[in-house]
């Protein structure tokens, strides 16, 4: 049994009086890609927001064996959790390069940071062409690449990705999924992926969780979930 990088036990979270997650428990194995599937409003984005403490939570979140549910977002980042939020969260008035620099804000190893920046430009050559351009003027696909690259500049141990395929052309989505695989295998980054595109997500991921109205209803190896009758009908459309 490999070790767990993230363990969530009985997690409750929501917005004001509206509770969205009702006692969620899940585990993420170190080195894996895990995908979180579910319909709109099931609580996928809320789960990611809860993990990086962008919203208040009750319950337990263990990262690398240590409780982080009481920590602030800025400190969770410092432990090595990078979050690409829904809507990408790029800094629109700053340049592409400044966005990347902000990704490494907490790092002190300047030399390594410079190397990582070149690495990001090799993963996403189009960002290099646009390095001095205002990020708000990039295309949707380029902004998504920038958001992922910015998150990777942290050298995260865990990468939380919120619907990276949203609103993008199929070719761009393919490119982004390929990069996710590279990041996972070459850079050993553990990934938690929230996706609408269940078919692609299940192909990429090792494990999958299925979320319905704030509760997990199914979990397992993604190759098993792909065969599951209910999953096929509801999420794969066949």
């Amino acid at each position: 049994m490999s070790r767990m990088l993230l363990e969530v036990k009985d997690l409750f979270a929501g917005y004001g009086a509206t509770e969205v997650l009702h006692g969620l428990s899940m585990q993420i194995e170190e080195g894996s890609i895990t995908t979180l599937l579910g319909a709109n409003g099931a609580g996928k984005t809320t789960t990611l927001r809860a993990l990086s403490k962008m919203i208040k939570v009750r319950g337990q979140i263990l990262f690398d064996g240590k409780a982080i549910e009481g920590k602030a977002t800025e400190d969770i980042v410092r432990l090595g959790v990078a979050h690409v939020p829904d809507g990408r969260g790029t800094f629109g008035s700053l340049s592409t390069e400044e966005n990347l620099q902000l990704g490494s804000y907490t790092r002190k190893d300047k030399h390594e940071v410079a190397l990582d920046q070149e690495k990001m430009y090799s993963y996403f050559p189009r960002l290099k062409e646009r390095r001095n351009q205002q990020a708000g003027t990039l295309s949707g696909g380029e902004q998504q690449m920038l958001a992922i690259a910015r998150a990777l500049m942290l050298r995260p141990r865990l990468l939380l990705l919120d619907e990276p395929s949203f609103g993008l052309a199929p070719l761009i989505v393919r490119e982004i999924f390929d990069i996710m695989q590279t990041i996972n295998q070459r850079d050993k980054v553990t990934i938690l992926l929230v996706e609408q595109n269940a078919a692609m997500a299940l192909d990429l991921a090792n494990y999958a969780y299925l979320l319905e109205t704030g509760k997990l209803v199914l979990s397992g190896l993604s190759k098993d979930l792909k065969q599951d009758e209910a999953v096929r009908r509801s999420y794969l459309g066949h």
């Binding site: 990086s52 962008m54 602030a72 977002t73 800025e74 980042v77 410092r78 990078a82 979050h83 939020p85 969260g89 790029t90 800094f91 629109g92 008035s93 700053l94 400044e98 620099q101 902000l102 990704g103 804000y105 907490t106 205002q134 708000g136 003027t137 990039l138 295309s139 949707g140 910015r150 942290l154």
Partner: protein, 256 residues
Amino acid sequence: METFIHQVVAGIAAGGVYASLALALVMIYQSTHHINFAQGEIAMFATYMAWTLINAGVSYWLAFVCTILLSFSLGVLIQRIIIRPVENAPVLNIVVVFIGLLVILNSIAGVTMVLLLLLYSFFKFTPLGLAMRAAAQNPDSSRLVGIRVGWMLALGWGLAAAIGSVAGMMIAPVVFLEPNMMSGVLLYAFAAALVGGIDSPGGAVLGGFIVGILENILGAYVIGTELKLSVALVLIIVVLTIKPAGLFGKVIVSRV
């Protein structure tokens, strides 16, 4: 002709004061995306602190430095105690230690351009400057890269108060010190910040001089001194109507 030159020089002198208060406004705007209408009062208060210190026998330059430091603390305290509890608006960012330094040096030696370059470099090339700009623009994303947004805001307020205190101390010798003086100056400074572009420190300084010279020349030859303040108001309206981003302000482009 001699009178004209005299008016221009007087305008430059007043413009320096407007420029530094405009810088304070830009600072707060950069760090919070809000305009601080109490900036004039903070500067006024600081000027009285300086005056009290000097009257107590403290040397001018020591009082000058003490006042800046006290004002900085005051700005931080105001933000922490008064602003923070009601804040959940977009926050933060800034680099203003250098602006403070810049203005201080400016008032001493008149090396505005060099100092401006320092300020620009601070925002443009230092990680702290970048973090301050980021925090002002997108607090959520800033937290996600580890920036402590709340403290950046307090830093911005502290620096703005420090700069404002410089403006107050600069204006005391130039004009008479009296309680309502700063509200007029704030209006000129506000016009200066708008003319230059509310997000451009360099624009604010240039705007300060433009407003100072215009005010003096129009006051002397066209409208008379009683109506000088309306120059600022008219300028504000003209800029907002014709070029809302100001001369050097950045027009934010975004795709939707």
